[in-house]
């Protein structure tokens, strides 16, 4: 595979997409992205945030209402046949023909490219050799998803788009898909995926953009984003009786960076968990507060999303 010398696989600026209707829906409200070549880039956000619309604009399947897109140094307006050969796409929901076998499906897709790995190589890559000749309708959800990923790879693409590759899969199947995606990156391809699982983004992606309501609200490496919280650990406490209303003085504790309340739970972002715990327990003892729950953990992208939007990803999905 020859790698072109573009520093960015994707550059887009000022993307806006408005779906006509009554009222018109603004799915994307000004998105700028730069995806360096050779990395795995994640679009993380709740359902309806505009991830799929953004991806489909980048894939040249939707026209943006405003904004400019360059993919692998080319623009979709310059005629797409050359660019199409260099990218691979897996859409969010494609029902492949139920009565074809994975081998037949891959041969069909391969015929559009006229080159690239053989059906057998692709089946081996996604671990579907045993199912190569059973009908697609007899495959499990995870196997279908792996077949969809294989279909995205038939043209030996430099850039692969995967729209929610693991949504609805069980943990085992999810891990299998993760393995395939990690191997794509190792082969030097650029991968752009969307997900609403922060664990997936954290584990697979070199960089992520957190998207909410059609905008990028944060961008960077997962560790950078977590570091921006000011501390890498989270302590959550809940009391048997309701906690007193005024706990603002918790912020006075030396190691506590931030305090947030949810109903009768309090969440502290801390830099030094051991120190913070000692201070916290002392503080609670002084005030005679009895704890029901105490939980200390590493900060995650979930906490980043929460701190940026005031909602959890799960709440935002609902």
């Amino acid at each position: 595979m020859t790698r072109p010398t573009v520093s960015y696989a994707i550059e887009c600026a000022g993307l806006v997409k408005v779906y006509e209707g009554d009222p018109p829906v603004q799915a994307v409200r000004g998105i700028d992205l730069r995806v360096p070549a050779g990395i795995c880039f994640g679009l993380l956000g709740p359902n309806g945030a505009g991830k799929t619309t953004t991806l489909e604009i980048l894939e040249g399947l939707l026209e943006p209402t405003e904004g400019s897109v360059r993919v692998l140094g080319c623009s979709w307006e310059d005629g797409d046949s050359g660019l199409r050969r260099r990218i691979g796409v897996s859409l969010q929901e494609t029902r492949l023909s139920e009565r074809l076998t994975p081998r037949e499906t891959l041969r069909l897709f391969r015929s559009f490219y006229g080159c690239g790995p053989s059906a057998e190589e692709l089946l081996a890559l996604v671990g579907l050799q045993e199912k190569a000749d059973s009908y697609v309708r007899h495959l499990s959800g995870g196997q279908k998803q792996r077949l969809a990923v294989a279909c995205a790879l038939v043209g030996d693409p430099e850039l692969v788009f995967l729209d929610e590759p693991t949504t609805g899969l069980d943990p085992h199947s999810r891990r299998q898909v993760w393995g395939i995606i990690a191997s794509l990156r190792r082969q030097g391809r650029t991968v752009v995926l969307s997900t609403h699982y922060m664990e997936e983004a954290e584990r697979l992606c070199d960089r992520i953009a957190i998207i909410d309501r059609g905008r990028v609200i944060a961008e960077g490496a997962p560790s950078e984003l977590i570091a921006q919280l000011g501390g890498e650990h989270v302590i959550e406490i809940a009391a048997a009786d309701s906690l007193p209303d005024h706990l603002d003085d918790l912020e006075q504790l030396a190691s506590v960076r931030r305090v947030r309340r949810f109903q009768n739970m309090v969440q502290l972002t801390v830099s030094e968990p051991q120190e913070a715990l000692e201070e916290l327990l002392c503080y609670l003892r002084q005030r005679g507060i009895e704890l029901q729950t105490l939980r200390a953990r590493h900060a995650s992208l979930e906490d980043v999303f929460l701190s940026l939007t005031g909602r959890t990803l799960v709440e935002a999905d609902a």
Partner: protein
């Protein structure tokens, strides 16, 4: 040899071949679809063919009394080897051989329409008979006429009444002959609309159209494959139907077979254009089903599938003749039943082509790929 093989390999890897073959494979793996496309039209032909077959109107039940000379009478009536029933001069005879007392009882209670009593032989073995009938019963009077007519024909083969009779029930003029081209047209139309229109919308609903669009696939390959695969089904279906009609109903094609073939290709192409146009915007299977019914039902009624559109008011004929299915049915009946050439039917041919061209142009313009 290697050149030939590599050519075959290239063909197998060609997107048009792959798109066509996968549609064919998918179709044949779906038993219901095979039933509706292949078996159902045959069943319909059988059903309608039997329901509307041309039967002699008059059925005559005759009792022949078992006596010497009875067999000769029966032979005279039905011809040699007639057994117990037969068709003579437009009448359908059923003959029972019974003793005299039983025959008279059956005549009295109306179980038979006429009793033939063989009489002593006269002359050179000519059978002679007494004819018992009930002059107050219409069927009995009719039976008397039928039997004496049949016997007279039998006795003097060359009837010289000054009137010559000619039966006109040759293949070509029967209902089944009218029906078969209509069914072919109906199936072709259904093939274009369901086989192309519905399938295209189904692929759209499944997001597969969009998925294909994300590859370097050429749209023309996709549409052409859709048509080729459908044409393969339709062609086999029509050939099966014609062979079946030939075997079961003595179907005769008066015109040339290759003109029939040309017309089938033109019709299939024109109707696929119509199917594609119908499917160009629909986003749901409900919508496309409704649209297809909207397009096909009026044509099934008006275009002369089951009965001639001559039955509709004269004023409606110009409109009816503009419908593509009318043109197809008229042209096919022209070739099959009248032996006319396609060139003798310029209006039908032009109308069919125009529908195809306009539908394709609009469909390609409006077709929603995502």
């Amino acid at each position: 040899m290697p050149g030939w093989q590599s050519w075959l390999q290239q063909l197998r890897e060609h997107p048009l071949y792959q798109l066509t073959i996968t549609r064919l494979v998918e179709f044949y793996r779906e038993p219901e679809a095979v039933f509706w496309v292949y078996v159902f039209p045959l069943l319909m032909t059988v059903g309608l063919g039997i329901a509307f077959r041309n039967e002699p109107v008059v059925r005559v039940v005759v009792d022949v009394v078992e006596r010497p000379g009875a067999e000769q009478l029966v032979q005279r009536l039905l011809g040699a080897g007639g057994g117990g029933s037969g068709r003579v001069a437009g009448f359908h005879f059923r003959v029972e051989r019974v003793p005299e007392a039983e025959a008279r009882r059956r005549l009295r209670v109306g179980k038979t329409q006429l009793v033939l009593l063989p009489e002593r032989e006269v002359g050179q073995g000519e059978p002679s008979a007494r004819l018992l009938y009930d002059p107050t019963r219409q069927d009995s009077v009719l039976a008397r006429l039928a039997v004496s007519e049949a016997l007279r024909h039998g006795i003097r083969r060359k009837a010289t009444h000054g009137v010559r009779e000619e039966a006109v029930t040759q293949p070509g003029g029967r209902y089944i002959d009218f029906l078969i081209p209509g069914l072919v047209g109906m199936n072709l139309l259904a093939g274009g609309l369901w086989g192309i229109g519905y399938v295209a919308v189904e692929l759209r609903v499944r997001n597969l159209l969009k998925r294909f669009l994300a590859t370097p696939m050429r749209r023309s390959h996709f549409l052409l494959a859709l048509m080729l695969s459908r044409f393969f089904f339709t062609a086999t279906e029509v050939v099966l139907l014609l062979i079946f009609a030939y075997w079961a109903f003595d179907l005769v094609i008066y015109g040339s077979l290759w003109q029939v073939a040309v017309l089938l290709v033109l019709g299939a192409w024109s109707f696929s254009g119509l199917g594609l146009l119908t499917a160009s915007r629909a986003r749901t299977l409900e919508a496309i089903s409704g649209l297809i019914n909207l397009v096909t039902l009026p044509m099934w009624l008006l275009s002369g599938v089951f009965f001639s559109y001559e039955r509709f008011p004269q004023a409606a004929h110009p409109f009816i003749r503009l419908l593509p299915l009318t043109s197809f049915n008229d042209a096919l009946r022209g070739v099959m039943l009248e032996g006319r050439a396609l060139s003798e039917q310029p209006f039908e041919m032009a109308n069919l082509m125009l529908w195809g061209v306009v539908c394709f142009a609009l469909a390609l313009k409006w077709f929603r790929w995502r």
